[in-house]
């Protein structure tokens, strides 16, 4: 396959579990070298997507390709080029963390090639501060996750499928994780990173997809997504800004004396600015939309501004 073909390509993917439609016409596109954030609430279908990508589940309809090949048919060949960190890491209780890491490195090593880079492994073990001699059943959740992360990151692969990889990591380890993913990106690896943790995705991802009830509701670079949402404006004016309240693209309008706070749809900022100019602006602050806002819009069916504005204020202060 040509080098520029997408690493992951899904078109109208459907996966049903009896009455549950876990993936509902899902479309996903990830280019080589791209870090792709995959956001969605519980039960949205993130883990199901990963399992379909691994060829462990078979889609009911639609197209799914990894490196241009069918993950169900060519699982083994494709698995040589990827590493996976499960969302709920269950390890073999009687093995030590070090043994699990080595086992995966050996399983992934190419035919005939018995050696793998112990240097990279040891380096990661040190950075993640893991004791590899402990039996995995005595590990805490975060440490089990580290084992899976290290064995994935130490592997020489083109694609990392990470299912909520930092759910159990402490803040220090999360910093290490961010560094390591940036290094992987620098080496040209592609990453599919599912998460609930917005800040992490925001910092690492080139592009982001938001999945809800099995369907991608929004996808694009962070700035593309911002364009699709609302900007929060806090303004102090000499004359009352009340006239803005009735406009269709202005939301969640609060006025308190001279101070007015409201949100405006991304593509109507110009109109609002024009009207504000005539009111005598004393001070103005505009906040770009945060990922929380993006998610809020798609997570809650209720799109009233309460949740959005409170999270905005939190982010601002």
């Amino acid at each position: 396959m040509s080098e520029n073909a997408p690493v992951i390509y899904a078109q109208d993917l459907v996966k049903e579990f009896g009455p549950v439609r876990a993936l509902d016409n899902l479309n996903l596109n990830i280019a080589p070298g791209e870090v792709h954030g995959y956001l969605g609430p519980n039960g949205a279908g993130k883990s199901t997507t990963m399992r379909v990508l691994l060829g462990l589940l078979r889609p009911d309809s639609g197209v799914i390709q990894l490196f241009g090949r069918d993950p169900w048919k060519d699982a083994v060949a494709l698995h040589r080029r990827l590493a996976y960190v499960p969302g709920d890491v269950e390890l073999w209780p009687n093995l030590t963390g070090g043994e699990v890491i080595d086992m995966f490195l050996r399983l992934r090593a190419n035919e005939g090639e018995t050696n793998f880079s112990t240097k990279r492994r040891d380096d990661l073990i040190e950075r993640f501060d893991l004791d590899p001699r402990k039996k995995t059943r005595t590990y805490s959740k975060g440490n089990r996750q580290k084992v899976a992360l290290i064995s994935a990151l130490a592997a020489d692969v083109d694609l990392l499928l990470l299912d909520e990889p930092t759910a159990g990591l402490d803040p220090l380890m999360e910093v290490v994780f961010q560094e390591v993913i940036k290094e992987a990106k620098a080496q040209g690896k592609s990453v599919l990173l599912s998460s609930h943790i917005l800040a992490q995705v925001e910092a690492l991802s080139d592009r982001i997809s938001i999945i809800r009830a099995g369907h991608i509701v929004e996808s694009g670079t962070l700035s593309e997504l911002r364009h699709m949402t609302r900007t929060t404006i806090e303004v102090e004016t000499e004359k009352s800004a009340q006239q803005l309240q009735g406009l269709s693209f202005v939301h969640d309008f609060h006025a308190e004396g001279e101070r007015t706070v409201f949100e405006v749809d991304g593509d109507h900022i110009r109109e609002v600015m024009d009207s504000l100019a005539g009111l005598g602006i004393r001070s103005i602050v505009a906040h770009p939309p945060t990922l929380e806002q993006l998610l809020m819009r798609h997570y809650g069916d209720d799109l009233s501004g309460r949740g959005v504005s409170s999270s905005t204020t939190k982010k601002v202060s």
Partner: protein, 552 residues
């Protein structure tokens, strides 16, 4: 519940010490267990009670008249039958009630013991293993509450079972003997509740706790085999097995109550020990602390075969040690069999005599061992199912390991492992026989080994069936496997007494090989059983290759 805050660390081990706080929440937990298991427990209790009560009718179904009754008694003069069913008191003057207690009671006791073991493990160690216990113990629940609630549940269930058995037996037979049979069932049930209360403290894994308690049950059965086979009424060996104690009461013959003091006494001691040990460990932990292991894997681990060995060898080793020792033991009964056969009065001399009798016994034990080896195989495949449902199969398969390769590696380890166990068990049986026989042992050695090893075809067939199911209907695999093995075990041990129609005997997969070395080897069944095995494994591999992984 109002409790004074007592420092939990310094509790006396016994719940009877009146420390209310350590029992806080017992009642709530008990009600919760009943709610969770309302169907499961009811089905177990009713079916066990009815099974026990039905057994009281069985001799009448088997023998219509006095003459047939006497024929049946001859069977119990046979040491091999005694070995399976008990000491056989009162067979020189047989009656239906004596037949009932000699032939059918032990079968019921065995299942009751299993029920007790499963109940305790399910409500204690399984809860801890899955971390649900942590959730519960974070509430106002004392440290002894769970064990107490579990034991209460077990005791009540066993009392009801005993009551139903008594009602069934006493309706037909004398009240005192029937009471002994029923209280005997209670004694077995409580004894194994108590044993399991100890084993769940020792092992961190529920499998381990069940295996240890099951091992005690197997040992109890094997010990009494030796004792009861040696003489009618059993010999000294029969006094070292809790299963034998409850039969030494000789219901309907001597009606002695005092042997029951032994199991009830032990029950009290082991329950105390269980509580005591539970205070010596943390929630979720065992008494043995995990040590540090290797920081790097041995090269062998980095292959699917290595992974499969890691997963399966522990279990196979346990089965292997138990089975090979049993083989040695059964083999060493050879001389006993010859002696016992020589002692038989002429009109009792039935199926075999002398050496034939001994060989017949050993051929029969070969079948018995095959059933147990097949159980080891089924247990291996259920372990595979656990790998899958816990998500580890998914994780392993995310490496470049093909589905058939993964499943195939596990099957390879399993087949090689069980055939090895079977071979070594045959070897053990041969060695035991040669060592015990006064004369001419050497010539039987090869025959005994071969007799056991040929059973490999049956074991292979069982693996084939279960593997095919694992590939296509994974949910059914374990259940069907245990039914095949359990049915084979019951027919092997008690088959002659059950009066089943022919097709029911044909259904028993372990009943098709010729009784070598008594009869000649017949190759046809060996071939088609092996064929079932190979075809089943192939079908299973194909199925696993095309089915989804962990699709619950």
């Amino acid at each position: 519940m109002t409790t004074t805050t007592v420092t939990q660390a310094r509790h006396a081990p016994s719940p009877a010490s009146g420390k209310q706080s350590s029992l806080a929440g017992t009642w709530v937990l008990l009600r919760f267990m009943l709610r969770r298991d309302r169907i499961r427990t009811t089905v177990w209790v009713l079916s066990l009670g009815v099974l026990g009560a039905y057994m009281a009718q069985a001799p009448k179904a088997y023998a219509d008249n006095e003459a047939e009754l006497h024929d049946m008694a001859t069977l119990f003069a046979d040491p091999v039958t005694r070995m399976m069913t008990g000491p056989g008191f009162g067979m020189d003057d047989p009656s239906f009630e004596r037949m009932f207690s000699a032939a059918y009671v032990l079968m019921t006791y065995l299942v009751i013991a299993l029920f007790s073991i499963f109940t305790v493990v399910r409500h204690t160690r399984v809860e801890e293993e899955t971390d649900r216990e942590e959730l519960v113990r974070a509430n106002v629940v004392g440290r002894h509450a769970r064990l107490t609630a579990t034991l209460t549940l077990g005791v009540v269930a066993n009392v009801i079972i005993a009551a139903i058995i008594f009602a069934g037996a006493a309706a037909e037979y004398s009240a005192e003997g029937s009471a002994l049979v029923a209280v005997g069932s209670l004694a077995v049930g409580l004894f194994f509740l108590a044993i399991t209360a100890v084993t769940v403290q020792l092992s961190e894994a529920s499998r381990g706790a069940s295996a240890m308690a099951g091992g005690v049950l197997a040992l109890a059965y094997v010990i009494r085999m030796g004792g009861d086979a040696a003489e009618q009424g059993g010999n000294a060996l029969s006094w070292f097995s809790p299963l034998a104690w409850t039969q030494q009461t000789a219901p309907y013959v001597e009606d002695r109550w005092w042997p029951l003091l032994l199991p009830f006494g032990c029950t009290v001691v082991f329950i105390w020990l269980g509580y005591f040990l539970s205070t010596k460990r943390d929630v979720g932990a065992s008494l043995l602390h995990a040590r540090l292991g290797r920081a790097e894997a041995k090269p062998s681990l980095g292959t699917p075969l290595g992974l499969a060995s890691h997963g399966l060898l522990g279990g196979l080793r346990g089965w292997g040690i138990g089975l090979i020792l049993s083989g040695l033991l059964f083999g060493s009964f050879a001389q006993t069999m010859i002696d016992a056969a020589d002692d038989l009065p002429d009109d009792f001399a039935q199926l075999f005599a002398g050496d034939d009798m001994m060989l017949g016994y050993l051929a029969y034990m070969g079948v018995f061992m095959a059933v147990l080896v097949a159980a080891a195989a089924v247990s291996g495949i259920t372990q595979l199912r656990i790998e899958e449902s816990r998500g580890r199969a998914e994780y392993a398969l995310s490496a470049p390991v093909g589905r058939s390769y993964w499943f195939g590696s596990h099957l390879t380890v399993l087949v090689v492992g069980v055939l090895l166990i079977l071979g070594l068990t045959g070897l053990g049986m041969g060695i035991g026989a040669v060592a015990s026989l006064d004369e001419g042992g050497g010539e039987y050695f090869g025959q005994l080994f071969l007799a056991t090893f040929l059973q490999g075809s049956t074991v292979l067939a069982v693996i084939g069936i279960v593997a095919a199911l694992f590939g296509w209907l994974p949910k059914a695999a374990g259940g069907v496997g245990w039914v095949i093995v359990g049915y084979g075990g019951i027919v092997a041990a008690f088959g002659g007494l059950l009066e089943l129609p022919d097709w029911a005997y044909d259904l028993n997969i372990f009943g098709h090989l010729a009784q070598y070395p008594v009869d000649d080897i017949s190759w046809a069944p060996i071939l088609w059983l092996s064929l079932i095995g190979v075809v089943g494994i192939t079908i299973g591999l194909l199925g696993f290759n095309r089915r989804e992984v962990n699709r619950v």
